[in-house]
């Protein structure tokens, strides 16, 4: 490793090109990446010097994970056709075929989810597959794999790594007995123990930590930086980013929007850069309605236990006839709200719909009361993938409202195939669903057309209130526009109240009257959709209300 040695003796630098290359630890040059013709990263250029901490921020889907997957040689990148441009490590172009190559080149990654063995101690986890060992006679017969573990040396190495982080974890604690934050530290200690470590990627490590643990952690990061390790720190907590990073790189829609020293940034600016462009498609934007309409749905102290989208305490009121948006970053709980009200995940609290108290945890009750739901999980919850288009569209209306049923004397509820097909045909025309006819199986359709089926399914119920969860996720621009237009049309023509959940703030702003932003399972604030972008950005990062910003309701 000539590069590493060169760092240890700076005097050995040769002037000119070599010097620049050596000082730069990591250089991403014109990196681009397509996923199935969808450009997710475009023209990414940035450099990281030795001992530098770079804060990488951006909304969900901005391209952070993809970028880090490229750096770490994740197989998913190769499987989807590789990337363009070059990743240079210490001036040399790297071609990682898998994460092991990346580890060999001195790149470490601390993941959001833990890659630890619960029944092993901290020491064993930190040194897994890199244990110190001693000779014994079996080695002669069976080879190196049977060397004896040198427990004392291992313990010492683990202790050193832990000490470097500045935390107090006993090397002998089982991982399963540790609090979550300690597991995170153990994971980082494992990276530190690598002698060749040059670049460390930290993917939201502080998300599970308390405030004091976070402080310890940030201090540890600074200590590592002082040793010359370059770090990429991904976090949604902008204060931490500002606190610890030398430079901040803001990603949005696959592009680097800003790359600047952290001294020139503040929370407000970063937030507006992240949520970004206020151009968008405002043709759908509506004239706001008067705010005196009565509430059709009122939710009090709702808690929903939805894995990955926990709702902790949400109270809100949706007015009759409005389009109400729910936004926020992934994992903050915005999806839990519709899923909880519709009875799909265990919840408690008080929900009053259309003047009647709703029994929770009973999907049929929610449906019967006049609510309908477009699920964010299209294939999992939204569709009967192996059945025909006609059956999919009519199913809910048939089961809940007994429509599309021909009653035969004797109480037999016969499926009315003719009505079914007629209804399907109508929606195929209206929503421009591309298919061979009402009998085609849904599995054969494209994602966009499948989503249109989900929309048709709820429209066929003529609901009073419609929850649309990520109705445009993963579908192409044309379908996206059509879905939004149909929702809008439905709202205007029939006065259907719509509660739309989306990760894309721009989309919400283009169609909604008011938008609630969810942060850590609670409503951070509710704003009219034409409020300034940065206010939304601040709410999404949980900083708005705390600073006493004016929050409209």
């Amino acid at each position: 490793m000539s590069g590493a040695e060169a760092f240890d003796s700076p005097g050995a630098y040769v002037k000119g090109e070599r010097e620049i290359a050596d000082k730069t630890l990591l250089h991403m040059r014109n990196v681009q990446k397509d996923f199935y013709g969808n450009r997710v990263l475009e023209d990414i250029n940035f450099e990281m010097k030795r001992g530098e901490i770079i804060g990488l921020v951006g909304e969900n889907g901005a391209g952070k994970s993809t970028l880090m997957n490229i750096l770490f040689g994740m197989p998913v990148i190769r499987e989807t056709g590789g990337y363009e441009g070059a990743v240079l490590i210490e001036g040399e172009e790297a071609h990682f075929r898998n994460p092991l190559d990346a580890i060999d080149a001195g790149i470490g990654m601390v993941h959001q989810e833990f890659f630890l063995i619960p029944s092993f101690t901290a020491t064993e986890n930190i040194l897994l597959n890199r244990e110190s060992s001693k000779y014994n006679i079996l080695v002669e017969i069976f080879g190196e794999r049977l060397r004896t573990l040198d427990r004392a040396a291992m313990r010492e190495r683990a202790e050193r790594a832990i000490r470097e982080l500045g935390v107090d974890i006993s090397p002998d604690t089982l991982v399963s007995d540790m609090p979550v934050s300690y597991r995170q530290f153990t994971e980082i200690a494992r990276e530190i123990d690598r002698e060749k470590m040059k670049i460390l990627v930290l993917d939201e490590p502080t998300a599970v930590m308390t405030e004091s643990e976070t402080d310890t952690f940030l201090a540890a990061m600074k200590r590592l930086a002082a040793k010359g390790i370059g770090q990429i720190f991904i976090s949604h907590r902008l204060r931490e980013i500002l606190d610890v990073c030398d430079r901040i790189v803001v990603l949005r829609d696959g592009r680097i929007i800003r790359d600047l020293p952290s001294s020139e940034a503040d929370v407000r600016k970063i937030a507006s850069w992240m949520v970004g462009r206020d151009v968008g498609d405002s043709s759908l934007r509506r004239v706001r309605k008067e705010e005196t309409r009565p509430a059709i749905l009122s939710v009090r102290n709702l808690r929903v236990d939805m894995p990955g989208e926990k709702v902790r305490n949400v109270s809100l009121e949706v007015r009759r006839g409005e389009i109400f948006g729910i936004g926020g970053l992934a994992g903050q709980g915005k999806l839990g709200i519709p899923n909880g009200v519709m009875g799909l995940h265990p919840s408690d609290g008080a929900v009053v719909f259309d003047g009647r108290t709703l029994r929770l945890n009973d999907p049929l009750e929610s449906l019967r009361s006049g609510m309908a739901f477009i699920s964010e999980d299209r294939r999992g919850v939204g569709l009967l993938i192996d059945e025909s288009i006609a059956l999919n569209i009519a199913f809910t209306a048939m089961q809940v409202q007994e429509r599309f049923i021909a009653k035969i004397p004797g109480g037999v509820k016969w499926r009315d195939e003719q009505a079914l097909r007629a209804c399907a045909k109508e929606y195929i025309d209206r929503l421009e669903i591309r298919c061979t006819g009402p009998d085609q199986r849904v599995v054969e359709l494209s994602g966009g057309n499948q989503q249109k089926i989900c929309v048709a399914k709820v429209l066929a119920m003529s609901p009073k209130l419609l929850f649309a969860s990520e109705p445009t996720r993963g579908i192409d621009i044309g379908a996206k526009r059509l879905v939004l237009e149909v929702l809008r049309e439905f709202n205007e023509r029939y006065g259907t109240t719509i509660v739309m959940t989306s990760s894309e703030l721009q989309e919400l702003r283009s169609i909604c009257d008011r938008i609630a932003i969810v942060y850590e399972g609670k409503i951070a604030g509710i704003l009219p959709s034409d409020a300034p972008l940065e206010e939304f950005g601040l709410l999404m990062l949980g900083t708005g209300a705390r600073e006493g910003e004016p929050v409209h309701a």
Binding site: M342, L344, P363, L364, L367, R368, F373, S375, D377, G380, V381, G382, L383, L384, I385, D386, E387, L391, F395, T396, M398, Q399, V400, E402, I405, V412, K413, W414, R415, E417
Partner: protein
């Protein structure tokens, strides 16, 4: 031409093409070893009628997501109890046959309900649990056949006079009443068991019709995508129990039909392996673990029973050894194995 053939094979499925070709070959070879085709065809039809309803019994549970009904012996037992109870009262002819069904159905419904509750506690492992429910119910009944207070001497052990015999003849009661109903002959050797085939067809119609009703649609949805069904207000557990009840009742009726045609009521270990031929037949017909149609039932029963009828006569004629049992076991267990591996594949995708 080749392309079209390829597509045809893909649509019909390799397993069916191979077995159908094999069956056709057997029919073609039969005259050469001195076996009449019309007799064979007649035998095959009779066996289709005998076994058809038990294969049909697989459909509701497959459709509701409970998998293959390896617990069919439970329904079979209800059918047996119905049969011996009907005999106990000395009903003969059609009355005997119908009373057997009348006694069997409520018992099957009750057992099916309890069986359904058990399966709802074992979501994901239904088939293994079902197998053991079937086996253990057979073992339990082995005791009960001895203890139940039946009095008709024709059914009891000759010595001692208590406990039911292993094999009870239906001679003089309702032997082949259904087979003979409206039956006709073509030539000397071809006999068409009209009544049995009609009842099978009627059963198929009822099941087909059920899956076109609101409840049937909900049941299909529960099996096809449980999350979807729940999100759309379907009570999945109820649908599953209902499907198990239907399966068990069909199994019981199927057993009574089987007995009248076969001529004997076989108690004790008789029901032990009843599930496997039915499971194999529906799989052979092209059903998967979570999707089955009436066409699957009819095609599968015909192919499977055709093989069973033809192999003993034809193969034995050629080889002069008894290969029938071996081929039956290979086909039925092979089919089950094949279907189970296909399930794993589908999951991976």
């Amino acid at each position: 031409m080749r392309k079209r053939f390829g597509r045809l094979v893909e649509n019909v499925g390799w397993a069916r093409v191979i077995i159908a070709a094999f069956l056709a070959l057997l029919f073609a070879v039969a005259p050469l070893v001195g076996i009449r085709v019309d007799t064979s065809l007649s035998d095959t039809l009779l066996r289709v009628g005998m076994n058809g309803i038990m294969v049909l019994a697989m459909v509701p549970m497959i459709q509701s997501g409970c998998g293959l009904n390896f617990g069919l012996p439970l329904g079979v037992i209800a059918g047996l109890v119905g049969a011996v109870t009907s005999m106990e009262f000395n009903w003969t002819g059609f009355a005997g046959f119908f009373m057997a069904i009348v006694f069997a159905v409520p018992l099957a419904a009750l057992l099916g309900f309890l069986y359904g509750l058990v399966l709802n506690r074992a979501k994901g492992d239904e088939m293994m649990i079902a197998t053991y429910v079937g086996f253990s119910s057979v073992a339990f009944m082995c005791m009960m056949w001895l203890l139940l207070p039946y009095k008709n001497p024709l059914m009891l052990w000759g010595f001692g006079g208590t406990g039911l015999r292993t094999t009870i003849s239906l001679e003089g009661f309702w032997l082949t009443v259904l087979d003979r109903f409206l039956s006709f002959r073509i030539g000397e050797f071809f006999f068409f068991p009209t009544g049995t085939i009609l009842l099978f067809a009627f059963g198929c119609f009822l099941v087909w019709a059920f899956f076109r009703t609101k409840a049937g649609t909900a049941m299909t949805a529960a099996g096809s995508n449980a999350q979807f069904a729940r999100a759309n207000g379907v009570d999945i557990d109820r649908m599953r129990v209902l499907s198990v009840v239907l399966s068990t009742v069909l199994g019981a009726v199927g057993m009574v039909v089987y007995e009248q045609s076969y001529g004997f009521i076989q108690l004790y270990m008789g029901p032990f392996y009843m599930a496997f031929p039915a499971v194999a037949a529906i799989l052979l017909g092209g059903a998967t673990i979570n999707r089955a149609t009436i066409v699957n039932v009819v095609v599968g029963t015909f192919l499977f029973q055709g093989i069973l009828t033809m192999t003993p006569s034809v193969i034995n004629g050629i080889l002069r050894t008894d290969m029938a049992e071996v081929i039956r076991i290979i086909v039925s267990n092979g089919m089950i194995l094949y279907a189970l591996t296909r399930k794993v594949q589908a999951k991976k995708r």
